[in-house]
Amino acid sequence: MTQFAQIGVFNQAIVLFAALVLFTSFIMLAQTRMLPLIFSFAWQGALLAVATALVAFVSGHSHLYVSALMTVALKVVAIPWLLYRLTLQLKIQFDAEPVRHPSLLLLGGAGLVIFSYSVALPVVHRSGLATRNTIAVSVAVILIGMLLMIARKKALAQVIGFMSIENGLFFSAVVSTYGMPLVVELGVAFDVLVAAILFGVFFLHMRESFDSLDVDRLTRLSEARDSLPGHGEAGEAPESHP
């Protein structure tokens, strides 16, 4: 237990920022309004970037600075800005989503932290890095992102959950192996960016077809409703053959 006091103030700062990243995950889980949700996501990105830069400083892996910069560009600026614009454009900035059993959700999140601790244990035991304990936090961020996606019905909240999973993945790579090779990270960042843009396109399409961004409305394709009339021919053209 005294070990923590001995790892040096910069490593402690990394751990501290990791804990704050985890905290923002909980904030997102509890936040029901759309704009604050986007802002807390941006905060998570910022904290993540700081933690990455600190890891880069401590470990001397200069390519992590590039990763940190990429995180800032992508997850603090680009994606939140994109979502913010969309929110205003679709006029959902004042939407609040009723979440049933909010405290239960938070307790579930705490449970996931414990679960990720046990999942990460074999990895942590084998790692020699000072930041090894934060691997569990990164797993927890991934899992809480998934919980967010499951618990929420608003498409925007699901997107935030999705992106927060990406944050967790990125963080896990940073703290367990000092980041993936740069070419892979560039590829992943490209995928994330494209995914964010596609999500934006989807919002517009969904608004057009469902007049709502509630994922609850997407119930046309379940197995149970398969036999309802009209299914499978919604796309039919009025006249059928040329």
């Binding site: 005294t2 402690q12 700062a13 751990v15 804990a19 985890l22 405290s103 938070l106 705490a110």
Partner: protein, 318 residues
């Protein structure tokens, strides 16, 4: 033997100082608040004058009040007095501190609350019962959060004794512990709820829709009321001292020499003054919450404490 005697004397003096200074802290908070809100501030000594006035008056007691109602002010004040004795204010390693640990403090707080709530119910007025039920609702949520925050500290320091925790922190020096950050935040939120400050309760009003603590003690008067008010001020002081001395213990006296003790007194005075300012800023910025929102507020405090404990286990061990 001589050392032993000095230590006990010091402990008694520190307890007396604690109890005597409690109204001062309350007065200071009131004064800073008035300044911040651009009102004419009463002198700090006004709190003492109010207390003195109450103690001079004869209490009026309802006909149907039982012994519980009469005994409660003494029990509450006694519990707070004993708690104050156990908390290191100016110096650590005092013999009174060795008797009681953090869990006993939580127990004393619970005892005081239990009797206040009983007294509220005892005379059978509508307000009393309402206040008691609200108080218990808040307590049911606040206590686990508080215990969790306390356990986080004790797990780090391997002790539930306050002196030991403070010594541990002093020995470790500046360590950026995420668990302490979370525990402190959770603890502060619980403290706000337990001492009846905004946004959970407002000590300055008697608005029946929202009041919690004031509703329970509405029927008290004279010296009974004086005792309860004083006990309340001590409670505020207890929480403030805990936050100040456990999380920033620097300055506290570790040996019983005059310069060290003087430094300890100055340090705690400065820390408390600053904390009071922070409390005032918080109370000015926040709006009073609807009662239905209080569980959410405390749920958040519980989450913070829980996170503190989890981060301690996950991040700071091994």
């Amino acid at each position: 033997m001589d050392h032993y005697l000095t230590a006990w004397l010091l402990a008694a003096a520190q307890t007396a100082l604690f109890v005597a200074a409690a109204p001062l802290l309350a007065g200071w908070v009131k004064r800073v608040k008035c300044h911040m809100q651009n009102r004419a501030a009463p002198p700090v000594a006004q709190v003492y004058r109010d207390l003195a006035k109450l103690f001079r008056k004869q209490p009026v007691i309802a006909e149907n009040a039982s012994w519980v109602f009469r005994a409660t002010p003494y029990i509450v004040f006694g519990a707070m007095l004993l708690s104050a004795a156990a908390i290191p204010l100016v110096a650590v390693d005092l013999p009174t501190g060795a008797i009681a640990d953090v869990i006993v403090l939580v127990g004393f707080a619970a005892l005081a609350r239990f009797f206040t709530a009983l007294a509220g119910l005892d005379i059978g007025t509508a307000f009393g019962g309402m206040g008691s039920s609200r108080e218990m609702t808040v307590a049911a949520l606040a206590e686990p959060a508080m215990l969790m925050a306390v356990f986080t500290l004790s797990m780090t320091a391997n002790s539930t004794n306050l002196s030991a925790v403070i010594n541990f922190n002093l020995d470790a020096g500046l360590v950026l512990r995420p668990s302490f950050l979370f525990a402190l935040s959770g603890f502060a939120m619980v403290a706000v709820a337990e001492t009846g400050r905004i946004p959970v309760d407002n000590p300055a009003t008697h608005l029946e829709l929202t009041m919690i603590h004031e509703a329970m003690i509405l029927e008290y008067s004279g010296r009974h009321l004086g005792l309860i008010e004083w006990a309340n001020q001590i409670k505020l002081m207890i929480y403030a001292v805990l936050m100040a001395n456990v999380f920033w213990p620097w300055g506290i006296a570790r040996e019983f020499t005059a310069p060290a003790l003087a430094l300890g007194a100055v340090a705690i005075a400065a820390k408390l003054a600053l904390l009071a300012v922070a409390l005032v800023v918080w109370e000015t910025v926040m709006a009073k919450m609807r009662l239905f929102r209080v569980p959410q507020f405390l749920g958040f405090a519980l989450l913070l404490s829980l996170l503190g404990m989890l981060t301690h286990v996950v991040l700071e061990t091994g």
